[in-house]
Amino acid sequence: MKKIINDPNVVVQDMLKGLVAAYPNSLKQVPNTTVIVRKDAPITGKVGLVSGGGSGHEPAHAGYVGQGMLDAAVCGEVFTSPTPDQVYEAIKAVNGGAGVFLVIKNYTGDVMNFEMATELALADGIEVEQVIVNDDVAVEDSSFTTGRRGIAGTIFVHKIAGAKAQAGGSLQEVKAIAEKVVANVRSMGMALSPCTVPAAGKPSFELAENEMEVGMGIHGEPGTERKAIATADDIATELTQKVLDDMALNRDDEVAVMVNGLGSTPEMELYIVNGKVNEILKEKGIHIHKTFVGEYMTSLEMAGCSVTLLKLDEELKELLDAESKAPAFLS
C-alpha cells in the first residue's frame, strides 16, 4: 500500500481538518465529531439537509455542504457507515425548526445507523424525514433483499432537494422532490482496478491486467460481469444501455447526464466516455439539458467510471440549475 497518509487509523480526522482549512468561510466541523456543517448552520426556518456515509467517496458528501445543497455531511470511517450518535449530532446541528431531511444511500449499515439517529431525534422532538437513494441498476431491484445501491445519482438528490430547501420548501415538499429524483435517476458503473482501504492495507479485490468488472459498486462490491477490457465506446454503450433499459425515456425527453470518475480515471477518459454517451442519447432523440463530467462520487483510488441519467421535468430542471455554493458543486 502506497498512500499519502500519516496513520491509517486517523485518515478521516486528518482529511476533515484539511477540508475545513480549505473552506474556512463556508464550512465548519462540529467539535469532537466527524460532522461537517455549513458555517451558518442552523438556518432558522429552513429544512436542514443531512447526508453522509462511509468516507472514501470524496468529494461526497462533505464537498456538497453549502448554500443550495447539504447543511451537513456525516463522515464515517472509510467505507463504513457513520454511527447513530454522529448522525444525531448532525441532525441537531442543522435543525432550524423546520425539520431535518436525511439523504441516505441504500446500504444496510447506512439505513440502520441513520434510522437509529432518527429515533433519537424524534425522541427530542425534532421532525425528521428521509429518502433512500438506490440508483444502481447493476443490482436487481427486489423488496425481498437489500435492493439497489445508492451511487453517483445521490449527487442529484443533494442538488435538487437542497435547492428546494434553500427556496423555502417545507419538509414534506423537500421529501416529495427528493423522491421524485430517486424515481427518475439511474446509474451504472464499471471498474478497471481495485482500491485499498487504508486500515485494511490490501486491495478489496483483484482484476487482471486485461479485465474489467461491469456493475462494480463504489466499495468494490462485485458487479454483474467480469470480462475482458473493451473500448471506451463499448463501455459507454453498455453502461448507457443498461441505464436506459431501466428508464422510461422517450424521444424529446430531457435528461441530465453525469459521467463520474471513481478516483484514478483521468478526465481524458471520462470525456471520451461522455462523447459516446452524448452520441447515443442524441441518436435516440433525447435532449441533454446539462452534462457533468468529473469526480463526484469516488471510491478511493479505484479506476473506472459510472454513467448516471436523470430524467427531468420543468421543476427538476429549475432546481438543478439553481445556485449552489457547495465547494464541490458550484453552480
Binding site: S81, P82, Y107
Partner: protein, 206 residues
C-alpha cells in the same frame, strides 16, 4: 447456572480476544462477499467496549451490557454496530437491576436480543446473516432446562458453518446472489465467537 458481573465481564473479554485474534480472518471473509471491514470494525468496537468495562466498577450485570451496547453503537459503524449494539441493549433491558443472570433470564435476554436484531436488520432466518446463528442458539436455550457449554458451542458452530451453503438475501453479500454461496457469513462468524466465549464461561462453571 448463574452468571455474575465477573462472569459477564469474562464472557466479553473472551469474545474480544477471539475477535482481536481473528481480525484479519473476519476481514478476509468480508472481503470475499462484503466490503472487507468486518474485522476492522468489530476489533475497534470490542476493544473500546473492553477498555470501558475494565476501567469501570459494576454492581449490576445490566450496566455492563448497557455500556457494551452504547460503545458498540457509537464505535463499530457499518451494519454490525447497530445490530450488535441493539442486541446488547435488549439484553441489558431484560436483566435490568439483577446482580445475576440465571438460565431463564439468559434465555429471555438472548431471545429479546434476537428480536431486536430482526427488527433492526429486517432479515429472516436463512438470509445468510447473524440471525442464522442467533436463532438456533435461542431455540436451544428454550428447548433445554439445563444448558451445557459444549452443547451451546456445538450448536453455534454448526449454525455458523451452515451459512456457507446459503445464498445471501440481506447485507452487501446479497448483491452477489449465487456467488455468495460457498462463503461463510462474517457476521455469523463473529456471533459464533460471542457464543463460543459464552460457552467457555458456562463450562468453567460446570
Amino acid at each position: 447456572m448463574k452468571l455474575d458481573v465477573q462472569q459477564v465481564l469474562n464472557w466479553l473479554e473472551k469474545t474480544n480476544e477471539k475477535i482481536q485474534m481473528n481480525k484479519e480472518y473476519l476481514t478476509s471473509l468480508d472481503r470475499a462477499i462484503g466490503d472487507g471491514d468486518h474485522g476492522i470494525n468489530m476489533s475497534r468496537g470490542f476493544q473500546e467496549a473492553i477498555d470501558k468495562t475494565t476501567t469501570t466498577t459494576y454492581i449490576s450485570v445490566s450496566d455492563v451490557l448497557k455500556d457494551v451496547a452504547m460503545t458498540l453503537i457509537s464505535k463499530v459503524g457499518g451494519a454490525s454496530g447497530p445490530l450488535y449494539g441493539t442486541a446488547f441493549l435488549k439484553m441489558s433491558m431484560v436483566v435490568k437491576n439483577r446482580e445475576l443472570i440465571d438460565k431463564k433470564t439468559l434465555e429471555n435476554a438472548l431471545e429479546s436480543a434476537l428480536e431486536g436484531i430482526l427488527q433492526r436488520g429486517k432479515a429472516q432466518l436463512n438470509d445468510k446473516t447473524l440471525v442464522d446463528v442467533w436463532t438456533p442458539v435461542v431455540d436451544l436455550l428454550k428447548a433445554k432446562e439445563v444448558i451445557k457449554g459444549s452443547e451451546l458451542e456445538e450448536v453455534a458452530k454448526n449454525a455458523m458453518e451452515s451459512t456457507k451453503e446459503r445464498m445471501a438475501k440481506k447485507g452487501r453479500a446479497a448483491y452477489l446472489k449465487e456467488r455468495s454461496i460457498g462463503h461463510l457469513d462474517p457476521g455469523s462468524v463473529s456471533s459464533y465467537y460471542l457464543f463460543a466465549s459464552l460457552a467457555e464461561v458456562l463450562s468453567e462453571e460446570e
